[in-house]
Symmetry: C2
């Protein structure tokens, strides 16, 4: 029993971890029978450590010896900074000026070098290219990378090992790393279980991509779910198209209400992005009626000075 998950993803450690990361709430079970997989208790406060560690482990020493670089709006940055430290490597993190202070402080606290840029895709990519050229660091993409996707998939694997009879598994979708990994794991382990995602209406590229049958992007984004601003990639989209049943979009109002309900009833802290699948369930309640539903609560890194209530 520990709020820190081991960084070794062997089966033994997974068994040890999932014992305490699954919660239920009798008051919320009035809505559906829900099992919450609590990645907010994960090391660094978010599931992203899974994908990054898997990717870092897969890199030969010659490729990682000059450090790891990435661009991230926050949680992936935390994961890279923390995981690089475990390997004794330098981390270089390109972050938009607008990233939450709590995340900048935490990244710096792990000893990473932060390179600030403008909050545009172009500025982020330019800054990343410059830092990779300058340092020789290896780039690990936040989601469009099969090693990252496979790491994120371990979360659904643990969930299904604990509750094998789930009718539904829910996750949020931003760039799609967690969602594609979740869908892949569910497909292989429990083909009858359906995967449904929640997505902010203000960054709904995945919803539109599924409907169009081709990769769409977000020209602009406007949502409180700051971990879900990115668009799907060419590796995550095909997996999501093949294995995800449905994407439900939710407004910021619905996200905040869902977040507040979990804070009040379950006494655990989740961030806005994390509340998105539960908001989707609340929006389409009848769809979940009588269904055994697993929801991945992705993370709990909120800036307590800027709460939406």
């Amino acid at each position: 029993m520990n709020t820190d998950v081991t960084t070794d993803f062997g089966l033994e450690s997974i068994r040890e971890a999932y014992e305490w990361t699954l919660l239920t709430s009798s008051s919320l079970n009035g809505i559906a029978q829900i099992f919450f997989k609590c990645e907010n208790f994960q090391k660094i406060g978010v599931f992203k450590i899974r994908g990054v560690l898997n990717a870092e482990l897969a890199l030969p020493y010659s490729e990682r010896k000059n450090g790891i670089a990435t661009n991230s709006s926050g949680n992936h940055a935390l994961a890279i900074a923390f995981a690089a430290g475990l390997f004794g490597l330098m981390a270089y993190i390109v972050m938009p000026r607008t990233a939450p202070e709590i995340k900048k402080t935490a990244v710096a606290g792990y000893g990473a070098e932060i390179i600030l840029c403008e909050p545009t895709l172009q500025s982020r990519e330019d800054a990343l290219r410059e830092v990779v050229e300058r340092t020789g660091a290896a780039f690990i993409h936040p989601y469009n990378d099969y090693r990252v996707i496979a790491g994120q998939a371990t979360c659904a694997l643990e969930l299904l090992e604990d509750v094998p009879d789930l009718d539904l598994v829910m996750a949020p979708v931003g760039g799609g790393g967690l969602l594609s990994g979740t869908a892949l794991a569910v497909h292989h382990i429990s083909p009858r279980t359906k995967v449904i995602a929640g997505e902010p209406a203000g960054a709904d590229d995945a919803f539109r991509s599924l409907r169009a049958g081709s990769l769409q992007t977000n020209d602009s984004t406007r949502t409180i779910a700051d971990g879900l601003l990115t668009s799907l990639g060419d590796k995550t989209f095909p997996l999501i198209r093949q294995y995800v049943e449905e994407i439900i979009t939710v407004t910021d109002e619905q996200i905040i209400a869902a977040m507040r309900l979990i804070w009040e009833r379950m006494k655990i802290i989740i961030e806005p992005s994390c509340a998105v699948p539960f908001a989707a369930l609340l929006k389409d309640k009848e769809k979940f009626n009588g269904k055994l539903t697993g929801i991945i609560l992705t993370g709990g890194n909120v800036d307590l000075g800027k709460l939406p209530f």
Copy 2:
């Protein structure tokens, strides 16, 4: 694994419950080796259900058949309202007008009748006497009752069963029901383990009572820890005097900082009163250095609309 603790306090259910109510945090373990007993995940969000159920079970039917009445600033009210419902009894709760809205709403939600009074001892006692005369309900005191004290003691019992080698056990003190029960349980189960309490400086009657060797009261109170405003009673004080090693007082600033640290690092929601023992540990760090310390996190009922940060 469930955020709701069973209401049956048999050993089997205690074993089942403590599996998930004990948390540690590697970042907070830099301060001392701390085991947090998480009563914020308890039914109704607070430890108080323990004492009330024990008291209610001890009442013969003839005494409880007209319902249960009490006066409480909040959490005891929740416990009475919830527990009365379990027994199919009416609950009558005298509450000060100034009690948090979240607690008034929750008490009413359990079907209890709320009788509002002024936030003074005299007004509360008058209103309680009137409701008992009117209804014939049985009064259960929030803390100055051996049945309540014995119920609260089960929390330390579970903690010591899980971590038998604790050097220290910490709890907050208001009226002293939890603290006296904790001290009693620790004395009987693990006599070498010391009990240290935290108390708000703005309601420090217990600190002054220990120093004076006689029961002192709070003429006025001024603290954010709204669950700890009451003064010790003639049943709780002697137990505390005999079995509690020390009481450390903390300012509201220290309470808020401790609360924030637990929210940020552990991603769990605790209320201000609940942060008091951890604030005391942070204040006197050297005293806890190298000590295996168990801290009872008493509850998580906060009004999210009125957070101190």
